[in-house]
C-alpha cells in the first residue's frame, strides 16, 4: 500500500481521528529534544497528519492540537525516564498497543527508514526489541488492513 492509499483508507474510515500535520520546525525541534532522527515514512505521516489514526490505534505525533496522551515528545520522555522497563533512547515510540507495549522505530538499525519493533513491557529492561515490520509504512498498512477487516 502506498502512502496515498494509506491516506485515503485512513481518512475514509468512520472512526478516524487525525491532526492537521506538523511543520518541519516542529519535527526538527522534536528531533533535537529527543536526540533521535525522525525520518522515512513516519516523518511523512507527521507532516501529513501530525498525530492520530483510528480510535482503536492512535499514533503519537506532533503539531497543532495534539492531545497530551499522543504528544510524541512528552510520551517519549515519560517512557524513557518514568515508566518501567525504561525505553532505550534509540527507540522512538509511535504507538501503545493498549496494554503498555510500545510499537517503536529502531533509529539505529536504519536511520533513513527505521524498522518497526515491539518493546514489550512484560519482557524486562534487557530484552531485544522484537522486529515486526521492515518500515513504518508497511506496518501502518498491515495495521489498517487488519482493522478494516474488523469492521
Amino acid at each position: 500500500m502506498t502512502f496515498d492509499e494509506i491516506e485515503h483508507q485512513l481518512l475514509s474510515h468512520p472512526y478516524c481521528s487525525v491532526g492537521t500535520g506538523a511543520t518541519e520546525e516542529e519535527i526538527e525541534r522534536a528531533e533535537h529534544v529527543l536526540r533521535v532522527p525522525i525520518r522515512g515514512g513516519y516523518r511523512k505521516f507527521l507532516r501529513r497528519f501530525g498525530w492520530g489514526g483510528l480510535h482503536t490505534d492512535e499514533l503519537y505525533g506532533l503539531g497543532a492540537g495534539v492531545p497530551p496522551g499522543l504528544d510524541l515528545v512528552f510520551i517519549t520522555k515519560s517512557e524513557r525516564a518514568e515508566m518501567y522497563p525504561p525505553l532505550p533512547k534509540h527507540l522512538l515510540p509511535v504507538m501503545n498497543n493498549g496494554s503498555g507495549d510500545l510499537v517503536c522505530l529502531d533509529t539505529t538499525a536504519s536511520p533513513d527508514e527505521p524498522p518497526v519493533v515491539m518493546w514489550w513491557h512484560e519482557d524486562g529492561p534487557d530484552q531485544i526489541p522484537e522486529p515486526t515490520a521492515t518500515d513504518f509504512i508497511s506496518w501502518l498498512s498491515k495495521m489498517l488492513e487488519e482493522r478494516t477487516g474488523d469492521q
Binding site: G98, E122, P125
Partner: protein
C-alpha cells in the same frame, strides 16, 4: 554511613557489610561491595541495606510551551516499605484514585478499579478458606495417609481417578504424596514386623499353621507399602515440578509459568485483535462509570482516556508471559502511571524480569 566505616583516602570500606540483604544475589555476598556494585541504581545511607534511587524529571517550558529543558533530580526511595505500601494501597483501593472529568468537564467521573488481584481472604467461614495452602496440604496429607495405609488403595484410586477428575491443587497433591509415603512406610514396617513374628512362629514349630499365612500376608503388606512409598515419591516429584493448580476454582488466574515463543506471540496477537471488543464490552457493561465522550470512544473500540487525555491501559493481572490469558477476569483497567510507573510496575508484575 552508620553501618560501616569508609576510608576516603584509599576509597575502600574498612569494615565489612554486616548484612547479606539479598541472599540470591552474588554481589550481596561480597562483604566489601557497595550497593551490590550498582551505584547508578542504589544508595546506602544507613550502611545496612541498599535503597532505590529514583530518577525524577520535570519538563521546563517557556510561556509558549516551548521546551527549554528538563529539571532532573534524584530521590532516595525506601524501596520495600514504599513498594509494600504502594501495593497495599493499590490492592485495597485506599489511595484516592484519579477521576476522569472528561475534557469537557461534565463527565460522571471515572474511578479506576483496584488494579491488581485482590488479596485472598483467608478468614474462616469463607469459601476461600478451603483453598488455603495449609488446608490443602493437610487435607491432601490425611487423604494420602489413608490411601497409603490401605494395601493397593493408592494405585487403584490413582488409576481410577486419573480419568475422571483433575489433579487438584498443587499443595493438596504434595500433601497427598507425602501422606502416601508415610502410610506406605507404616504399612511396610507393619509387614516386616509381621514377617518377623511369622518367622518366629514357624521356626519354633509352635504355630507353623499360623506363621506361614502370617508371613504371606506380611509379605503382601511390605510389597504394598513399598509400592505406596514409590507412588508417593513419584507423585511428589510430579507435584513439585508442576506449574500450579490443575483444576477448579481459580480460573484464568490460577497458574503461573513462563510462556515464550509462538505461544506468547499468539496470545499477544490475540489481545491486539480483541482490544476494540474489550472496550466495547466495558462500555456496554458499565455505562454509568464513564463520560459521554469516553463512552462514545469506547463504543467505537477506542480506549478509555484518563483525566489527562492519556489512554488507559489494560493490565493483565497474570502477565501473558507468565501464563496469563486474555480472559476478561484477567484484565484490570489502569492509567499508564498506575500500570507501569517505576514502583507500580514491580507491584503489578512481581514475577517478571527486573535488573537485580
Amino acid at each position: 554511613m552508620k553501618g560501616r566505616i569508609f576510608d576516603p583516602k584509599v576509597g575502600r570500606f574498612l569494615t565489612t557489610d554486616p548484612l547479606v540483604t539479598a541472599p540470591l544475589s552474588g554481589q550481596s555476598w561480597n562483604p566489601y561491595s557497595y550497593v551490590w556494585n550498582n551505584p547508578l541504581s542504589y544508595v546506602d545511607p544507613t550502611g545496612f541495606e541498599p535503597t532505590v534511587v529514583m530518577h525524577c524529571c520535570q519538563e521546563i517550558n517557556d510561556a509558549n510551551g516551548f521546551p527549554l529543558g528538563m529539571r532532573q533530580w534524584y530521590e532516595v526511595v525506601d524501596s520495600e516499605p514504599q513498594d509494600q505500601a504502594n501495593r497495599e494501597a493499590i490492592q485495597t483501593g485506599s489511595s484516592p484514585p484519579p477521576v476522569d472529568v472528561g475534557t469537557t468537564g461534565n463527565s460522571s467521573g471515572y474511578v479506576p478499579q483496584p488494579v491488581t488481584t485482590a488479596p485472598t481472604d483467608w478468614t474462616p467461614n469463607r469459601s476461600s478458606w478451603s483453598q488455603h495452602p495449609v488446608v490443602q496440604i493437610d487435607g491432601g496429607f490425611i487423604g494420602g495417609l489413608a490411601l497409603g495405609s490401605v494395601p493397593i488403595a493408592g494405585p487403584v484410586v490413582s488409576l481410577a481417578a486419573g480419568a475422571t477428575i483433575g489433579p487438584g491443587k498443587r499443595e493438596a497433591r504434595i500433601g497427598k504424596a507425602i501422606g502416601e509415603m508415610v502410610g506406605g512406610l507404616f504399612l511396610t514396617l507393619g509387614g516386616i514386623t509381621g514377617e518377623l513374628i511369622g518367622t518366629g512362629l514357624t521356626t519354633t514349630g509352635i504355630g507353623a499353621l499360623l506363621g506361614v499365612p502370617a508371613m504371606a500376608v506380611s509379605a503382601g503388606l511390605v510389597t504394598s507399602g513399598m509400592g505406596s512409598m514409590a507412588l508417593g515419591a513419584w507423585e511428589l516429584a510430579d507435584a513439585l515440578m508442576s506449574k500450579g493448580s490443575g483444576s477448579g476454582g481459580s480460573g484464568s488466574t490460577g497458574s503461573s509459568g513462563r510462556v515464550s515463543g509462538a505461544e506468547l506471540a499468539e496470545k499477544r496477537a490475540e489481545f491486539n485483535r480483541m482490544k476494540p471488543e474489550i472496550w466495547k464490552q466495558e462500555a456496554a457493561t458499565n455505562p454509568g462509570k464513564y463520560s459521554q465522550e469516553n463512552l462514545e470512544r469506547m463504543r467505537q473500540g477506542g480506549a478509555l482516556k484518563d483525566s489527562n487525555g492519556v489512554s488507559m491501559e489494560i493490565h493483565h493481572k497474570i502477565p501473558l508471559a507468565s501464563g496469563g490469558t486474555n480472559e476478561p477476569s484477567n484484565f484490570s483497567i489502569m492509567t499508564k502511571d498506575q500500570h507501569r510507573l517505576g514502583p507500580n510496575f514491580k507491584a503489578n508484575h512481581p514475577d517478571l524480569p527486573r535488573r537485580p
